[in-house]
Amino acid sequence: MLSRVANGLYWMSRYIERAENTTRLVDVNLQLLLNFRSLNDDTLEGHWMPIVQSTGDEEIFAELYPNASGENVSEFFVFQEKNPNSIVSCIMLARENARTVRDQISVEFWTELNRIYLFVRSKKATKLWQVSPNDFFLEVRNSSLLLQGLADATIMRNEGWLFMHLGRNLERADKTSRMLDIRQAATARDVSPRLRNQEDALGWSAMLRSCSAWDAYKALHGSDVQPVYVAQFLLLNEDFPRSARFCIDQVTRALRRISNVREGNFTNNVERLAGLLHSELQYCDPKEIFEIGLHAYIDQLQTKLNDISSELVQIYILQSFELEEDVQESEPTPEPQMEQQQQ
């Protein structure tokens, strides 16, 4: 597969997943506000600013808005085209990438992506957002889920699909952990494995809902919402499809299929890094997370996810573009030999 095409599919998929998760992120925070007793400017600023910081876009934000009010922050995350991570930007970028790989995706997939693109840029969308943010979020989220279903039901499971799958799962692991991180920041004290008051419990359960994790969590732990369980669930659960471990499991499988290598082996650095992280998540004791500190743990996790992504891009995409000056005398095609060795 062409590196440029793999790149387009990977980012298209990441941006769709990112748009979906941004709806989850803003949604959970709008809900959280309902739980505050008093809302003065400082509380608001203290509430919203960490969220802006968590996506690393505080510089752009500061240029565009005087203060971090709920209205400003949510506008920044939803419609602001100058914010490359806003929902509208993500959908535009997803579509822009899709255009360059139009021949790789099904008609149904393209039609839906185009539909949501036209929707978020329409007046109808702004109106819906003003009247009922929740319905707006639902529209975007459902579209992302539909696209995921279409990818799974209408697109060949070839290399291209695997790159889409990688993009989606890396993005999801990153965003799930980020939601957890914001929640722990909002709890304000050093998060202990156990909660002290009811207000916090509400916040943690709202976060679980935003990750579509509430029902699954309840089935495991009842309505006993404790940070230690929530962290264990969102980071380490083997079967929940939005947990970091589940996503990384998917990543390692996809990587192995691309290079056709057996489980437990690796042929390049991205497979090695992903495999390492997967085994860490597999064998992690939840107590360790709180010994290191939830925030520090998530920080490390995100660094590892970033490393996996940049290594992936380097190996499969950039590498073939960095060969310009490096002229070899022999036939520069070692790849077929590698395949033979594996057989």
């Binding site: 597969m1 062409l2 590196s3 440029r4 793999a6 255009r99 360059t100 139009r102 021949d103 290399e159 790159f163 691309i258 499969y316 995409i317 590498q319 073939s320 573009f321 060969l323 310009e324 002229v327 070899q328 005398e329 520069p332 095609t333 070692p334 790849e335």
Partner: protein
Amino acid sequence: MLSARHFRKEFVNFEVARNIYIHICGTDIIRDADGQYLVLEDNARCPSGVSYMLENRRALKRTFPKSFEAIGVRPVEHYSDELLRVLDYTSPNSAPDPTVVLLTPGVHNSAYFEHTYLARQMGIQIVEGRDLIVRDQHVFMRTTLGLQPVNVIYRRVDDDFLDPTVFRSDSTLGVPGLVDAYRAGNVSLANAIGTGVADDKVMYYFVPQMIKYYLDQDPILPNVDTYLANEDKDRAYILENIEKLVVKSANEAGGYGMLVGPHSTAEECNRFRKLVKAEPRNYVAQPTISLSRHPTYTGSEFAGRHIDLRPYILYGENPVVIPGGLTRVALRENSLVVNSSQGGGSKDTWVLYGDE
């Protein structure tokens, strides 16, 4: 020939694979008031529009499924198979399974849809210039598995933009070193470099003479009478009768740079008089031909609209004429300009099974 804009002197005496220059040809054909078929122009460089032929057929089949069987319409769907066969055939090395790619200028090109459509139909990669790299006079594409050799390029990029080291140096659409690899005989291009000379409307004038000279035959389909502004007598005739003529720029496509005298104002005619005088080599003129008409749905009723026909001819091991083609229709009443860039539409075209 030497003054044709698309003449590439770099390729004089150059031998192309299998001695084929024009792999894909789309010749525009019209019918005049007497019902005589005439060749209106040649498209030997990079004829487009074939995806319309295929999509129109699909649409009509969905709409009138029964008619096809009852009437006996010949299929056109094998176009992409035939095209792939031609491209395979022109592979320079005798590799049993050559790698064929389609080179597109990218998503911003107006024919990008057609490029992806054809690549998909043929099951080949659609590449942009930046996806290719030349090493030791061989062309490779950049893939997730490293560099993979490319044998045949169906290029939808004009000569000018193909290789910045040889042609336009500001081109970002091309592949540095491609021409070198082509010269070395390690990759073939369809169509060959320089075939644009045949699209020059001055060259068109000489085609019947070429047929006579090389084949010792009279053309089966005659040309439209043409006046060359470069010839003193013809130019005088053009300047005098411009209101009655169609004046065309020799190297424009898409219905740009042309004047339909009878449908133009005195001011427009005068502007073209000046253009013809300033650059006679660049203009030809033809009598205004009343193209045949076809019932066309205009939104409220059926009415006659002028049409022309572009059949597609493929040339590999044997020449293949696809039994169908792109019928272009000028949707505006009385308009004689059928180009889609000028608001033209298209129609499916049926060739029926005969008694054979």
